[in-house]
């Protein structure tokens, strides 16, 4: 998926911090759902949603990491 480039970030904003926190939360939630599903009762939707949360969390954290890296490079 290719997007048109946005101008490079000038600072690490509150929105970036919020996105990072959300990423961590999603990751934790995904792990909790998967763990409970596997230990109690396995169903395809629960597995799917657990994996989706983990994927979302990892993606958010990767975005935050990329942004921080861009900022460091700029400085």
């Amino acid at each position: 998926m290719k997007f048109r480039k946005l101008p490079p970030p000038t600072k690490f904003t509150m929105t970036d911090k919020y996105k990072l926190v959300l990423g961590v939360l999603a990751l934790v939630l995904g792990v909790v759902i998967l763990w409970r599903t596997i230990t109690i009762a396995v169903t395809p939707p629960a597995l799917m949603i657990g994996i989706a949360f983990i994927g979302f969390g990892v993606y958010r954290l990767w975005l935050g990491y990329t942004r921080l890296k861009q900022l460091r490079t700029k400085r």
Binding site: F3, L25, L29, I33, A41, P44, P45, A46
Partner: protein
């Protein structure tokens, strides 16, 4: 012959470019994100323990629809949305059919979400006014159990929205932004707390197994076709495209973010819901399913329930609001493209809003809501109609996407739907969208489900399209315009004007270069062919 020109939309209508990145996202989210509040109860009641799969099946198709819309609305950032893409790809007639289907959706959007919003208000009112009978029913002739209190609330909500929209996009867009943000936080909180504090995987598993043995395929198909309504609304982003700053840059980002957020929420809510409550609880509380989940979260339910109901009512109201905005902008675009009367084109001198379309289509939404109250289940009836309009419109949009790759390969596409196959057509290489084909098959399947399983949708939906077509033929005949053919458009100049108006100057340059190269190529081919012709002539 009159020349339709959407490039002049801005000059004529003066729709202002007020919508920012966040505004574009919340505009879409307010519409799509709210769908789950209305659809969750309906889908769980139909699909029972298989509801998460019904949402997932519809969601996968929705992702393809979303990607298709992202490509088209960033390529053609004009207010028309689906009908404009159909008109460019397939001509006036199909442009009108797509417009009629989407217009049905917008008016149903107004009706369904105003009804659902009032449903959440009714969750709250008895808590505030003890003894208030929100379930008051009356009988009128052959019609019984008409929920009169609910009906009056709905009418009040639709009239209020009509006035907000007459006041202008700045007001309603800001309203979307604030409430959209609050709703995002609330939906996340309910899902997270639900999973952490109340979710019982055993309950979900038992309902899942019960639904599979024996499997009721008809009910599952009904549920999955209703589930598509929890994803309807991406059209709003393309509707807002003409009012979005730097649309080609912003729209792909907001659309993709929106697609995945909504998908996770839809599957998440149904999974967490069926792990907290049995499906029968949702079936008996179709009007406020999300509040029912929140109410059953331990320790916090007493506050989470009413709070969810407040926010549910407001976000559903925003969704109804996007219906008013969408219907008015769609008809405005249709009138400017000579698909409907120019009378609708009138802009209010003070508020700069298309006042006539706002009033007419809000009233139409109100009428649909009123009629639905005379059926056994108001939500189910409106949901049926919603699914029909959406799937028909999306099918035409998918065909347009494929055709436009061939007809208009020169327009810059800031975002292109993935999974393409390179093929040669008329001397140039075209990216043939394989995912577009898959999406078309998927939407056709959902439309087939709607026709097969929705008793009201299969009659009322096509009836709406036929009535609109009768109007179209009469109007075009009276104005001496081709009935099945198309009016001549200068699409190239129009595309330049649209991109210039959107301040996408680099895309304007890219487009002009592509056209210049094409012209050069044509000239070269003509000059190559000329000596041969001369020889033939000499002979």
């Amino acid at each position: 012959m009159a020349t339709g020109s959407n490039a002049n939309v801005e000059k004529k209508s003066e729709l202002r470019r007020d919508v920012t990145v966040w505004g574009s996202y919340t505009w879409g989210y307010a519409d799509v994100g709210a769908d789950i509040y209305a659809a969750l109860g309906l889908v769980i009641a139909a699909s029972q323990g298989l509801a998460p799969m019904a949402f997932a099946l519809a969601g996968v198709i929705y992702i393809m629809i979303g990607l298709g819309y992202t490509e088209l609305s960033s390529t053609y950032p004009v207010a028309g949305g689906g009908h404009y893409f159909a008109l460019r790809g397939l001509g006036d007639f199909w442009g009108f059919v797509a417009g009629a289907a989407l217009l049905l959706d917008y008016t149903i959007d107004i009706a369904l979400f105003a009804v659902a919003s009032a449903g959440y208000i009714n969750f709250l009112l008895p808590l505030v006014f003890h003894g208030l009978n929100v379930g008051l029913v009356v009988s009128l002739g052959p019609f019984h159990d008409i929920k009169i209190f609910w009906m009056i609330e709905t009418i009040v909500l639709i009239v209020s929205l009509m006035f907000i929209n007459i006041r202008g996009v700045r007001h309603s867009s800001r309203l979307n932004e604030i409430l959209g943000a609050m709703d995002l936080v609330l939906e996340t909180t309910v899902v997270v707390l639900g999973f952490v504090l109340a979710w019982n995987p055993q309950l979900l598993a038992s309902q899942w197994t019960a639904a599979l043995h024996p499997l009721n395929l008809h009910q599952f198909m009904y549920g999955s076709s209703l589930a598509i309504i929890s994803f309807v609304g991406l059209e709003s982003i393309s509707q807002a495209a003409q009012e979005t700053r730097r649309p080609a840059t912003i729209i792909p980002r907001t659309s993709i973010a929106l697609i995945f957020t909504v998908f996770i929420f839809a599957v998440g809510f149904s999974t967490v819901g069926l792990g907290i409550l049995p499906w029968q609880s949702f079936a008996s509380n179709i009007s406020d399913p999300v509040a029912q989940i929140a109410k059953n979260i331990p320790y916090l339910g007493f506050i989470a329930g009413p709070f969810t109901a407040v926010l549910g009512a407001t976000i559903l109201l925003i969704s109804a609001n996007t219906g008013v905005m969408g219907a008015s902008r769609l008809t405005l675009s249709m009138s400017q493209l000579h698909l409907a009367t120019g009378w609708l084109d009138k802009i209010h001198p003070r508020f700069h809003t298309p006042v006539r379309t706002i009033v007419i289509f809000s009233m139409m939404g109100m009428l649909e809501a009123l009629l639905a109250f005379f059926t056994p289940s108001v939500m189910d009836t409106l949901g049926n109609m919603y699914a029909f309009g959406a799937t028909l419109g999306y099918m035409i949009v998918f065909v347009s996407l494929i055709v436009l790759r061939f007809k208009d390969p020169y327009s810059p596409r800031p975002y292109k739907m993935p999974v393409n196959m390179k093929i040669k057509s008329q001397g140039s290489v075209i990216d043939f969208p394989l995912l577009g084909i898959l999406g078309f098959i998927g939407v056709s399947f959902i439309l087939f489900e709607v026709i097969l399983t929705h008793a009201i949708g299969r009659i009322a939906g096509p009836a709406w399209v036929i009535i609109c077509l009768i109007y179209y033929f009469l109007w075009r005949k009276r104005n001496k315009l081709p009935l099945f053919g198309s009016i001549k458009h200068n699409w190239e100049q129009e595309q330049i004007d649209v991109l210039t108006g959107a301040e996408e100057y680099d895309l304007v340059e890219e487009y002009k270069n592509a056209l210049a190269q094409r012209d050069k190529k044509v000239k070269r081919e003509i000059s190559k062919a000329a000596p041969t012709d001369k020889i033939h002539d000499d002979r």
